[in-house]
Symmetry: C2
Amino acid sequence: MSVEQTIVDMAREAKEAARVVARLGAREKDAVLEGIARMLLDEASTIKEENEKDLKAAREKGLSEAMIDRLTVGDAVIESMAQGLRDVVKLPDPVGTVTGMWLRPNGLQVGRVRIPLGVIAMIYESRPNATIDAAALCLKAGNAVILRGGSEAFHSNAALSQIIQRALRENGMPEAAAQVIPVTDRAAVNVLLAQEEYVDLIIPRGGEGLIRFVVDNAKIPVLKHYKGVCHVYVDEDADLGMAEEIAFNAKAQRAGVCNAMETLLVHEGVAASFLPPMAKRFTEAGVELRGCPKTRDILPDAKEAKEEDWPMEYLDLILAVKVVSSMEEAMDHIGTYGSAHTEAIVTSDLACARRFLKEVDASVVLVNASTRFNDGGELGLGAEIGISTSKLHAYGPMGLEELTTTKFVVFGDGQVRT
Amino acid sequence: MSVEQTIVDMAREAKEAARVVARLGAREKDAVLEGIARMLLDEASTIKEENEKDLKAAREKGLSEAMIDRLTVGDAVIESMAQGLRDVVKLPDPVGTVTGMWLRPNGLQVGRVRIPLGVIAMIYESRPNATIDAAALCLKAGNAVILRGGSEAFHSNAALSQIIQRALRENGMPEAAAQVIPVTDRAAVNVLLAQEEYVDLIIPRGGEGLIRFVVDNAKIPVLKHYKGVCHVYVDEDADLGMAEEIAFNAKAQRAGVCNAMETLLVHEGVAASFLPPMAKRFTEAGVELRGCPKTRDILPDAKEAKEEDWPMEYLDLILAVKVVSSMEEAMDHIGTYGSAHTEAIVTSDLACARRFLKEVDASVVLVNASTRFNDGGELGLGAEIGISTSKLHAYGPMGLEELTTTKFVVFGDGQVRT
């Protein structure tokens, strides 16, 4: 069968399965997730064997240690996948929630009820555990899901797919409710992106190149962020000890993620006292600093920040630093170079905090907290399938609710329009 | 200046204006809307003169009487535009509403705040009053708007644009907050659809051809419905008097609109008693009936419904009629031929009502009420800018809230991630 036919069949079957999944109660959906969790643990050795095939190929291809680390599925990763499933089981089922109900003057009772989106396709380059995480969230929200992982994780994802399929089957659910695309052919993605009749939403996760490819070619709505160029602005009225902790955490706690800080903005009134100890701590942690001229007046050892540094997502132990003369200048810089992902201010001034929160356009805006909190789990959504920096449908981390929509239901007793 | 440059400049200026509009309070936005309403009434004669130019051209082109009627802006239409503006003034401003706020175990306070979408482009073929309605809703929700009406309403829209621009100016707001595209060139639409850097959302309203063109060519999210193939299902347990009133209203109260009924589904248990008086009433009102074989057994005068009738949006005094053997058959028919727009059941049976509401996938599902209630005003949203049958962001009528999104705001006192 051709790749095209394979994908079209999968999409059509997913649409049919979506109708079944949409009607299930939480108990039935949770049973599948529990089943997957159990089988993951029971079949850990098979999963690790299959993962070893991917790791061998990765080593032969000379992939970096960081990438091989991301690809590795050991006992701890399997444990965490099973725990993730059980965490999703504990989350309330969003489907069927009435988000509002009101009475019209003519007696019509109008309500909005949460319903699944339908079929969600996820295209990702991440660790194999994304396969399990995405399947769990999509199913719990009542959707069917089509998963397309990276070719480097092909065997691992296939093994996880076997488990998902078995759990669906054993619980009397259609296997098409959660399918992993069984071919590595890039053409499969193009075909998938054109299935507007069957697929309701595409979520790409990975490098900017993958995401641009998906956005440019999809005929289906896409929720995504291209990159996270996140800033921490240390205001003139900041508690400098707090600012140092927040900035250090935002950059160095985990540098390779989208909610890590890429540029530190410091008010000129506190730059001379704040920057030297901050720089010392960053340097000790191996963070390379690239500063504007005013920064380098204070930190002569810092490299020179060039124009191309300001919009850069380093995803690495590199930090651009700029001294600004006002909060307005900081907000202008964020408006020009930011990516609408995560922006933080450290300040003790109420008016500044309120103004920054109101005027900065980003999916998550924080006062006196690390940018690293832009995460569905950390913000209390329970879990997340990704972060959106597009404003339509979801802006910020996407949890179970963001995998649903609402429809209107109307109860009448014979009303007609006059 | 080239058409391309004109549109790109408009879009860029709209983006800048959007930042200003986003920060305004309701009082400032309402002042603009009041200003437009006042000027519409004051300058009614100018508007009518400009409209006359469009009407003259339309007559010369030989447009149908129905189209000329839609294009005509007389005193009643001007009055209703002014009233529409004042109705929007009375609606609560959605911007700044906190839709939820909660405390995390680490003390972080997390909230979601409603914010404008940014720049909305509307492309429409409708009556000139759409220019005023859309401008009012987009501005009230804190957005900038770019309006592209049909070429047949060019002079009328230009006159309305003058008024909008003056009201913005007199209230100290950037004129780019609400712009009407000043060229009829079709190329302008193509350029507009590519301005993803500046435009956040496209709303097309008009015929299916226009909407498909927009969806196929836009690099920007689109909210739309292609068509409304709406059904009324008369259940075995329906109050037949109520069913007759609802079906008659759904078809005949206004046949040329998207929420009018196009197919009537009747349970075989009541078809013989329900259809003859229903058919008589329809025939007297000039409605042509096209029936399935079982329908024509009961109504020998009905024309034969062909396969192509079932997915048809007649927008006219024509009705397809099908007798079904069960509610399941009715729901299957709706699933196959419906357009996810509006679906209604008439029944006195609670279980049937609940099941129909749950299982039918449409933006508005009604029990014992006319399909004609799928309308933002009728459902209590205050007003509407359109109806969406896509599930992302908005499903159903779109009011002020649907022209906004939410961002996360986080208050901490030094929290970092561990």
